[in-house]
Symmetry: C2
Subunit: 404 residues, 2 copies
């Protein structure tokens, strides 16, 4: 059977991503994981979820709803809760402005499915979240970089304003306003990735792009922004509950995509999640922030202590990631390969985060501080620093020989 | 904001399906539901799921796995269980031949995403499952009908050999072999919808297309078939657990699609489901079959009692549906609309089940016997019969006048 002949052209270029590799590395427990961006399972609200679960099984009427198909739009009470939550974040939403998705990854896929035809222009921050790039790739866009790219005929700009994956950087208020100006002038939409918005460890929260657009336009109905959110990082990933917020007419289109894609998200997951967030969301966010803040601080201190001169890194105010720029003569793909094989430390070379058709900065890498405690993480940074120093010295020696 | 201008061309023709309407009708409890094909929540294994849930929350190590991201391929022990299950159904599979999906709907979407470029030919049974058609539509195929269509340059043929939605009809062994012959001769793939395979109430089980292909080719690796299965009808829909079985090389491609679409299916749902099916699958299938067999028998008897001369219907050996052919002068869209408004009975006009570009038989409708007990179902059939008789008499009167 010749399957290759049957594959759609769009599938030819699709390759395994580092996310997949990350999952596999989980199995190898002896590694120091600075690569994956998984939340730490120590902070999941087990008791709250178990109690919610008991409440469902104790009441047959509730249990029937939990095991039957949910509406494609999502479980009504959860949609209402998220609408109120978005309103609290400055983007007034009603139930019809919310579609429940399987994590925010499904939201990114759906928006690309709705908007992109092959060859359409999609603007993305450079570098960008690998999961978003892989979702968009299936619809064969031409990528345009932000900042600097021309917004003419761009369908949407994908942006993560708060401590985004992979750089950990935050857009200033002026940058947010400028991006909205660009959308207003060009007619493009904005796809805002809000997945880290609440994981802020320092500084005052800035309004999201959708909140600023609601303020400008008077209503979410006139806003050019679709916002994807998720409870994966705030509560637990495996409930697989995210959402898209946006104008009701666009949400109605996205509901049709949801229906054709997997009919509905689990009612059980939605009901468990709602029970937990109603009583415990702020507390679980506070726990996560306390744990991750300490890990970020420790990793930043370790980088300052162990990295050789010439290495630079971001200082994120939240999220899970630090972005490293090595001296230009170091190829981070080689460094991360050697770190894994020789030092037992995982990190992800930055090249993975650049879209097709846009040249990667090969001297970059992404570290995550979310998954492991401060001590092994410091040890991991120490080993990465030593390896970087060694590679710099080899490179200097080669340069010395070739100049001699 | 002009969103219409931004939508991809593929989204222009997408319209709300009857599945959506079915969901809404659930809210109107006073109706007699012969339209929806939802499983009856009375037969869900509540105690088994609650016990499985308690086991997860009682063991922190298990609970950590249940709440963290699962691998994109699926939870290993569940993949292994399904591989053994498929082997037991005559299609020897290993773990690498199985991808876990959110119900079989997601499997249908993924296979279409893998294989279809705009304008590619996709063969479907006429009429066909509406959820499959809506999934395929997003990739803009040209439809070819089965039987009768030309398989040249067809990417895949979508077929439901057992009591398929909407007709309730079953392919004979000779028809199955002929379809495999056609695939062998033309090089097309077969997408087998196995979602009702185990819901058989009479007669001996027939081998699935994938089982027959494994026998012909010696191994699933050489089979031209991808099989989609689901626990939605056998256990409970809202765990949202289905699977695709097929050659490992194709499954690897589909895993990349899963990753880009929603990263992974809920580990919690997969662990709950595995616990239930390990001990209780055959018992839950037996319960479902006993309940649905009685409802099918009762509905067939009611049709014989109440339908006027000239109405014909299928006699399904399993599944959830009966397909009705009315006399040609009756438009089932009018009948179902009047049944809903005047009689409080839901049924789905057959036109919904025909693909784009292929003319619908407008005198057909689908009834489901799954959702309500025998007595209200008999009352519903009585009302539909009376309405049909009235419409036939009006039509005869009109004919008499116009001939006069």
């Amino acid at each position: 059977m010749d399957w290759d002949r049957l594959y759609a052209s769009r599938m030819r270029d699709v390759v395994a991503s580092d996310i997949r590799e990350r999952m596999k590395l989980l199995a190898a427990k002896q590694l120091i994981h600075l690569g994956g961006g998984l939340p730490d399972p120590d902070i999941f609200p087990y008791e709250a979820i178990a109690a919610a679960s008991n409440r469902i099984w104790a009441d047959r009427a509730v249990a029937r709803t939990a095991l039957q198909y949910a509406p494609s739009e999502g479980y009504g009470p959860l949609r209402a809760w998220i609408a109120a939550y978005m309103t609290g974040l400055g983007a007034p939403c009603a139930v019809d402005n919310i579609l429940i998705t399987n994590g925010s990854q499904q939201g990114l896929d759906f928006v690309a499915k709705l908007l992109l035809s092959p060859g359409d222009r999609a603007m993305v921050e450079i570098p960008s979240f690998i999961g978003a790039l892989r979702a968009f790739d299936a619809y064969q866009p031409t990528y345009v970089g932000l900042p600097g790219g021309n917004p003419t005929d761009v369908k949407f700009c994908y942006a993560g304003p708060d401590f985004r994956n992979p750089t950990g950087t935050t857009m200033t208020l002026a940058e947010r306003e400028a991006l909205l100006d660009m959308a207003d002038a060009s007619g493009m939409a904005i796809l805002e990735d809000g997945c880290y918005e609440r994981l802020r460890y320092d500084g005052a929260p800035l309004p999201s792009l959708i909140a600023l657009a609601c303020a400008r336009r008077g209503s979410v109905e006139a806003a050019p922004v679709l916002y994807t959110g998720t409870f994966s990082k705030m509560v637990a990933p495996s409930l697989r509950i995210g959402w898209i917020a946006g104008p009701a007419a666009v949400i109605r289109k996205l509901v049709l995509i949801k229906q054709a894609s997997d009919l509905a998200t689990s009612a059980l997951s939605q009901m468990l999640l709602l029970d937990v967030v109603e009583a415990h969301l702020e507390e679980t966010i506070a726990t996560a922030c306390a744990v991750y803040r300490e890990r970020r601080d420790s990793m930043l201190a370790a980088l300052a202590e162990h990295m050789p001169h010439g290495v630079r890194w971001s200082r994120p105010e939240g999220g899970l990631y630090i972005w490293i720029e090595l001296p230009e003569q170091i190829d981070a793909t080689v460094l991360t390969q050697r770190a894994l094989e020789e030092q037992g430390v995982s990190a992800i070379a930055g090249a993975a985060f650049y879209p097709r058709g846009i040249a990667a900065e090969r001297n970059t890498l992404r570290l995550s501080f979310s998954m492991i405690p401060t001590e092994p993480a410091r040890e991991g940074v120490y080993r990465l620093g030593a390896l970087t120093r060694e590679m710099l010295q080899s490179s200097a020696a080669v340069t010395a020989i070739s100049t001699a």
